[in-house]
């Protein structure tokens, strides 16, 4: 026995509220990120990820209150991303109670930010989120701004680069699969997982439990992230873990 593969529910948060549906019958307030995080914790989630998608900058600091409230009640690692542009942003989130901070567009625009942040707070706290789209067979390109802007950078090459810069983990999302429920882009996941020595979290496209298992067994991911299959109550985190365990994957149960 050894290290468990992780299951990470992801919550999109805007102005302090979870968006995209949640379907927990016992919840008092289905939009409250802390209440939902507590529910996932109780189901056995290994980590929680908050993605702050707040559009207006004057509401940005609300995420800090959410992180603080969550860290006071949920005693598992907490990753927060969205709108992180400076080392000061990273510090604010860590001080509020985040364990890891993920950066995406800012890392592409300014790769030194990854190096600087990781030197200051330790690479175990720095996650680089990579949004990738397939551009040719076996080739994927990094996109920013939620998949709208192409960068001309190869996803595998970028993963290797951010590892060198000091990223401690990669959150890899297939923009082709995100929202489709057709499963992870397994060749993409495998290509990145084989190229780097840091953990890779597979994301984008999960529609059923087999997809989660495939991310680990075929994609080579260290962790799998999903949103809607948990939010809409189709499966609990515990069911996902039992499914993976029954297929020979080591999980925390």
């Amino acid at each position: 026995m050894g290290l468990a593969k992780r299951i990470i529910p992801c919550l999109d948060v805007t102005a302090g509220r979870v968006v995209k549906g949640t379907n927990f019958v016992e919840l008092r307030d289905a939009g409250d990120p802390v209440e939902i995080a507590r529910r996932y914790d109780a189901q056995g989630a290994d980590e929680i990820t908050f993605l702050d998608i707040t559009a207006s900058s004057d509401q940005r600091d609300i995420i800090l209150n959410v992180v603080e409230a969550c860290a006071a009640q949920v005693f598992i690692p907490l990753t927060v991303g969205g709108g992180v542009r400076t080392v000061a942003d990273v510090r604010r989130l860590l001080n509020a109670g985040a364990d890891k901070v993920s950066m995406n567009t800012a890392a592409v625009n300014n790769p030194d930010l990854v190096a600087e942040a990781s030197a200051k707070v330790g690479n175990q706290c720095i996650v680089v989120a990579i949004d990738a789209k397939q551009v040719a067979p076996g080739q994927w390109e990094v996109f920013t701004h939620g998949g709208r802007n192409r960068t001309g950078i190869g996803a595998v090459e970028w993963a290797e680069r951010v590892q060198q810069l000091g990223a401690g983990e990669i959150l890899l999302t297939s923009m082709d699969r995100d929202g489709t429920k057709n499963g992870f882009d397994l060749p993409l996941t495998r290509a990145v997982a084989d190229a780097v020595d840091i953990p890779v979290i597979a994301s984008g496209g999960v529609g059923n439990l087999q997809h989660l298992a495939d991310g680990v067994t075929q994609g080579g991911a260290d962790a799998v992230l999903a949103a809607s299959i948990f939010h809409f109550g189709e499966y609990t985190v515990r069911e996902a873990k039992e499914f993976m365990r029954d297929r020979g994957i080591e999980v925390r149960l």
Binding site: G2, A4, F75, P77, N95, G97, G122, Q124, E169, P199
Partner: protein, 218 residues
Amino acid sequence: MAGLAQKEKVAVVDYGMGNLRSVWQALVHVGGQCEVTVTADPEAVVAADRVVFPGQGAMPDCMRELEARGLRQAVLDAARCKPFLGICIGLQMLFEHSEEGDVPGLGVFAGKVRRFPAERMLGAQGNKLKVPHMGWNEVTHTRSHPLWNDIDDGARFYFVHSYYVDPVERSFIAGTTDYGIPFTSAVARDNIFAIQCHPEKSAQAGLTLLANFIRWKP
């Protein structure tokens, strides 16, 4: 109010190496009537009834800051007589020497802190194991201890580290974990218990361990 017993004081030693909020928060969560404080004041460590010695970052920096803030003696004294809980680097600093930066530690336990030999660590499928060791792994109890009360032997805890302790005196080992190689994940002696993982981030198992520490009467 007269007649009420004074609250028991739990001091979390802050030597300026990162955020101790999670440790504090988890202790408050399980601490009941205790007064839990994060403190950089040696006097407060001396005055505390229980001491938690956490840590993150690189051990050379941790040792330097502990020294610079005048906390070394207070920590050593606490480790001699009070219920004392070391966490992560707080475990590693109790040993004589670390391969990380080739620095001496506090020498409370005989032995060394070693780096995981990544090049010869393979997983069950022959895959290369990643360093740091990050995530949920099993802690096997090698002896009974009050801090293991109500925690399953083999329960998973959350780890983030690249170095591990190698005690000379094997009877002080309280828990072991497997990551390519078996390593010591907890040690205990008299009033000291120290653990490599992060109980403050280890869900119920971690909270139970912290609650056991708060109640522990060595």
